[in-house]
């Protein structure tokens, strides 16, 4: 009797637990299905082209820009940064390995030693510090040039974020997921409001991109970021996160802080299987 009771009880518990908690894999399937049904004419990899996958008139303009892409010179700058040795004679290859095409797909990842999400930008600055060099700024400039080069070298490879079955890693994933779905700021809007439920619709001259494919083309060259005082046009994913938080009148979080790293973990995982097409061009 006691045994059956325990069995029944634990079965009940398991049932409620799976109802309340969905695994990353289940999340990904539902997320994918949502966009497939919302945009039945868009092929999976094309989501990596952001608003241009969803808006035919904007796409024409964008395709003509991509013929002579303004980010090319930054890919070259990034290559130079990769190849230039540090003062101690070592180089980025001593941290990341010799093959620059194998770097980008490793990020972001869970680091079981430090129990946190590690990003490409984080490891770039870690490498610099460990070699006695001054770290780069987080959002634009050299860090974005090097990212553009490593992204370019990795073009065509598939996004492949692994969420290990480690409670701490799952917690970081859940935090990132929560960040994405929680409304914030004076305008009371979540990332998901604009990039899931309103994706494909127009807002102040912009077509809202789908969150599926959001991460494949970063760092990105934006015409807006090339304006006077904003930098040379290139920016990282966390720069964009800050911009989108600011838009809804929420205080942006620090680039490479825990909030945005966990968000990147979830956000990039949702694009698993999509090809890397960095750097991208956007208006």
């Amino acid at each position: 009797m006691k045994k059956t009771l325990t069995l029944l009880l634990s079965a009940g518990l398991v049932a409620t637990a799976t109802q309340a908690f969905s695994s990353p894999k289940e999340d990904l399937e539902k997320f994918r299905t949502y966009f497939e049904q919302r945009f039945p004419g868009v092929q999976l990899n094309d989501f990596g082209n952001g608003p241009y996958a969803l808006d035919a008139s904007k796409r024409l303009q964008w395709e003509s820009m991509e013929e002579f892409p303004p980010y090319e010179e930054y890919v070259d700058k990034g290559r130079e940064i990769w190849e230039t040795p540090f003062k101690n004679g070592k180089s980025f290859a001593s941290c990341f390995g010799k093959d620059p095409s194998k770097v980008r797909v490793k990020y972001p990842h869970w680091d079981s030693k430090t129990q946190q999400v590690v990003t490409l930008e984080g490891d770039i600055n870690k490498c610099l510090k460990e070699n006695g060099e001054k770290p780069f700024g987080w959002k634009k400039g050299k860090i974005a040039h090097l990212g553009a080069y490593l992204g370019y070298e990795a073009r065509g490879q598939k996004t492949n974020v692994v969420i290990p079955n480690d409670p701490k890693a799952l917690e970081a994933y859940e935090e990132g997921k929560h960040f994405f779905y929680a409304k914030r700021g004076q305008l009371n809007m979540a990332c998901a409001d604009c990039h899931v439920y309103y994706s494909g619709q127009r807002i102040r001259g912009n077509t809202l991109s789908a969150a599926l494919g959001h991460t494949t083309h970063f760092p990105v060259f934006r015409a807006k970021w090339a304006k006077k005082g904003k930098g040379d046009g290139l920016g990282t994913l966390h720069r964009r996160y800050g911009g989108c938080n600011k838009q809804v009148r929420a205080r942006p979080f620090k680039a490479q802080g825990k909030e945005y790293r966990n968000l990147e973990f979830f956000h990039t995982y949702m694009s698993n299987g999509l090809e890397i097409n960095a750097p991208g061009y956007r208006e």
Binding site: K177, K183, E259
Partner: protein, 109 residues
């Protein structure tokens, strides 16, 4: 009778002036200091749950209600400072409530 009313009115006026005018800066200052402490506590509370809004004190905000209030008070304009603090405090409390209400946010599909 008429005289009495005028006298009373005058007395009241004088009393009124005495009660507010000379003490006004001092009491406004105290009021400001209390409001500032309350607002700062509300902002810290909102920030502790990631619910701080853009225009309370973020350095790139054009409004920066909280630092602007402090500046106004430093310039002696307590009335303006109090008005700005009121907005900052409202926003901080609303941001905190929002974060609490969103605790279980997740996909709707």
């Amino acid at each position: 009778m008429k005289k009495l009313i005028t006298a009373l009115g005058l007395a009241l006026l004088i009393a009124g002036c005495n009660a507010t005018t000379p003490e006004k800066p001092a009491s406004m200052k105290a009021q400001y200091e209390a409001a500032l402490a309350e607002t700062q506590a509300a902002v810290d509370k909102a920030a502790s749950v990631g619910g701080e809004w853009r225009d309370i004190r973020w350095k790139k905000s054009k409004k920066k209600y909280l630092p602007s209030a402090i500046k106004a008070a430093e310039a002696g304009d307590y009335a303006k400072a109090l008005k700005l603090l009121e907005i900052a405090k409202f926003q901080a409390e609303a941001g905190y409530k929002q974060a609490m209400a969103q605790k279980n946010a997740g996909p709707r599909f």
